[in-house]
């Protein structure tokens, strides 16, 4: 990563912290502590499952919301405040600005996820009194969640490079929901015929497949996650993120900022 990208990334991270984005950790801490303490009182035999399921789901949803709401404002806010012109008047190229913003937001989410993960493991220790070897697959679930964030960050940036913040949020949320149904879309495509089949198949492969990145239920039951899936998901995320970022760069590079 060149120095200019690193600089923009660190500024984006600092700005997010200054905007109190990490305050969500307080809400998360309350949620996970309450779940750890109270679920045991009102349910039977699922304390550990709830801590893992609720914890990882919260990590995922909090992160998605942050990725979308911070991501959609990354470009438009700079234009609105006119700080973008100051940045671009320096020897910074537009693609470096987009990539730097992406890494800054991704860094914010990784830090956020790290603290939430500490909370999940703390709550798990509280309810189960010890860790098991199979609990290590929680790290894989967390890694997949971060991969999910990378895709959403890139998509939010893509939409914010040509659209208003409100529309970008709508597009990004819609894609998150559609991406969660990617497997169903593919199933629908196999049932269709002719042109519909081609279109449905195309759409199914174009939207991000978030269902493949969701292994929360499996790790909650201490089921092993194959390294093949880890590798394939990593590569898939890298290519998909690169695709969305390339789109964002292409659009932003041609955008008239006057």
């Amino acid at each position: 990563m060149n120095a200019r990208i690193a600089h923009i990334a660190s500024n984006t991270f600092r700005e997010a912290v200054r905007d109190r984005v990490l305050y969500n950790l307080i809400a998360f801490a309350v949620l996970i502590s309450a779940a750890a303490i109270f679920i045991g009182e009102i349910s039977i035999e699922i304390e550990r499952l709830v801590v893992i399921n609720l914890g990882l789901t919260a990590v995922s949803l909090f992160g998605v919301v942050i990725a979308i709401f911070v991501g959609i404002g990354l470009v438009s806010k700079e234009i609105e405040k006119r700080t973008l012109y100051t940045v671009l008047s320096r020897p910074v190229r537009r693609w470096e600005f987009i990539v730097g913003k992406f890494f800054g937001l991704a860094g914010t989410l990784v830090v956020n996820t790290f603290f939430m993960a500490l909370g999940v493991f703390g709550a798990l220790l509280y309810v189960a009194h010890r860790f098991y070897g199979a609990d290590s697959s929680i790290f894989i679930a967390l890694y997949f969640i971060i991969l999910q964030f990378l895709i959403i960050c890139a998509l939010a940036l893509l939409f914010s490079s040509f659209s208003s913040p409100l529309l970008s949020a709508v597009f990004a949320f819609s894609l998150f929901i559609i991406g969660s149904f990617a497997d169903d879309l593919r199933g629908f495509a196999t049932l269709a015929h002719g042109l519909t089949r081609w279109v449905a198949t195309g759409v199914a492969y174009l939207v991000p497949n978030f269902s493949a990145l969701n292994v929360i239920s499996a790790v909650a039951h201490q089921q092993p996650i194959g390294w093949g899936l880890v590798l394939q998901n990593t590569l898939y995320t890298l290519f998909y993120t690169a695709m969305a970022l390339s789109g964002a760069v292409l659009i932003f590079d041609r955008r008239d900022l006057k």
Partner: protein, 308 residues
């Protein structure tokens, strides 16, 4: 006091008063509002619909539905209700959302199978539920045990129970008592000893306090049922020999050369009614007894005993 201070004080007072007022009003509204309809309503009954709506977070949704199931059953069980209309759908949704959630099968079957008020009286749905669980967790011998249990205790299908125990005993890591149970089903299915073996196995094979507590209650009740059966037989023999009902259990004790009046698991002596029925002193202390209760007896709220 400065103007800002006065505003702060007024706003803080208003906040606190409004908070208290809203809590009191909500309590009044709760008293006025009918609850029964809301308690029994299951707005989305399709597991597939819920799977889609959970956006892939099926595990969390299953935990929520399982907790709802426990609350639904616990509330109605505590109130000695006789209808559990939403229990089976709730369990089926839970299982569909997370087919590996074992407590939903193990506890769910024990909620569904027993006759009201101890359960929903739907042993067939319990069998369906556990079979669904076995389909998704074929390597779990405990599910076979639970299935055999339902066949034995509720459906009294000893042949099926034996087959299921036998199938479960062949799974790697299965407890040795599965083989014994399979054999017992063929020969001594209706003995108190077989039932005692089943509940003892349930107690010993589980670390879960609710399962152990339930097993203790059944073992205590089994002891009472067996004692009452034996004493009632002794009373019958007394009637045959003397042509009259004994005036007290002491007459039976003397006639049968017993050491004294037998006592229930709590140490209370059994009693004899005027019409010759052997009764337990405190039927409310034995949740699952089928004998030893006066005809007019109505069971109160369940009371569990942590130790036998």
């Amino acid at each position: 006091m400065s103007s800002r201070g006065r505003t702060t004080l007024a706003a803080a007072t208003c906040l606190v008063v409004s908070l208290f007022a809203s809590v009191i009003l909500l309590q009044n509204i709760d008293r006025i509002r009918p609850h029964d309809i809301a308690d029994d309503a299951l707005f989305i009954s399709s597991p597939k619909m819920l799977q889609r709506a959970s956006l892939g977070f099926n595990g969390l949704m299953a935990c929520i539905y399982w907790t709802r199931t426990v609350q639904y059953f616990g509330h109605r069980h505590y109130n000695r209700e006789h209808t559990y209309n939403e229990l089976a759908p709730l369990l089926e949704i839970t299982a569909a959302l997370d087919p590996h959630l074992l407590p939903a099968y193990q506890f769910g079957a024990s909620f569904l199978a027993p006759a009201p008020p101890n359960g929903a009286g739907q042993p067939e749905r319990a069998v369906q539920l556990i079979r669904y669980g076995i389909g998704h967790n074929p390597g779990n011998w405990r599910l076979y045990y639970d299935l055999g249990f339902v066949y034995y205790t509720e459906l009294h299908d000893f042949k099926k129970a034996g087959e299921v125990f036998d199938a479960g005993s062949k799974i790697a890591g299965a407890h040795p008592f599965m083989k014994i149970l399979a054999a017992d089903m063929a020969e001594n299915a209706q003995d108190f000893n077989t039932a005692r073996l089943l509940w003892s196995a349930a107690y010993e094979s589980s670390q879960e306090s609710n399962i152990r507590e339930n097993a203790v209650e059944h073992l205590r009740s089994l002891q009472v049922d067996e004692d009452v059966t034996n004493l009632q037989n002794a009373v019958g023999r007394f009637v045959q020999a003397n042509g009259r009902i004994p005036t007290s259990l002491w007459e039976v004790v003397n006639a049968e050369h017993l050491r004294g009046i037998p006592v229930d698991p709590d140490g209370n002596p059994y009693e004899l009614s005027l019409d010759g029925q052997v009764l337990v002193a405190n039927p409310d202390d034995f949740l699952f007894i089928t004998k030893g209760m006066p005809e007019s007896y109505k069971r109160g709220a369940p009371r569990f005993h942590a130790k036998s």
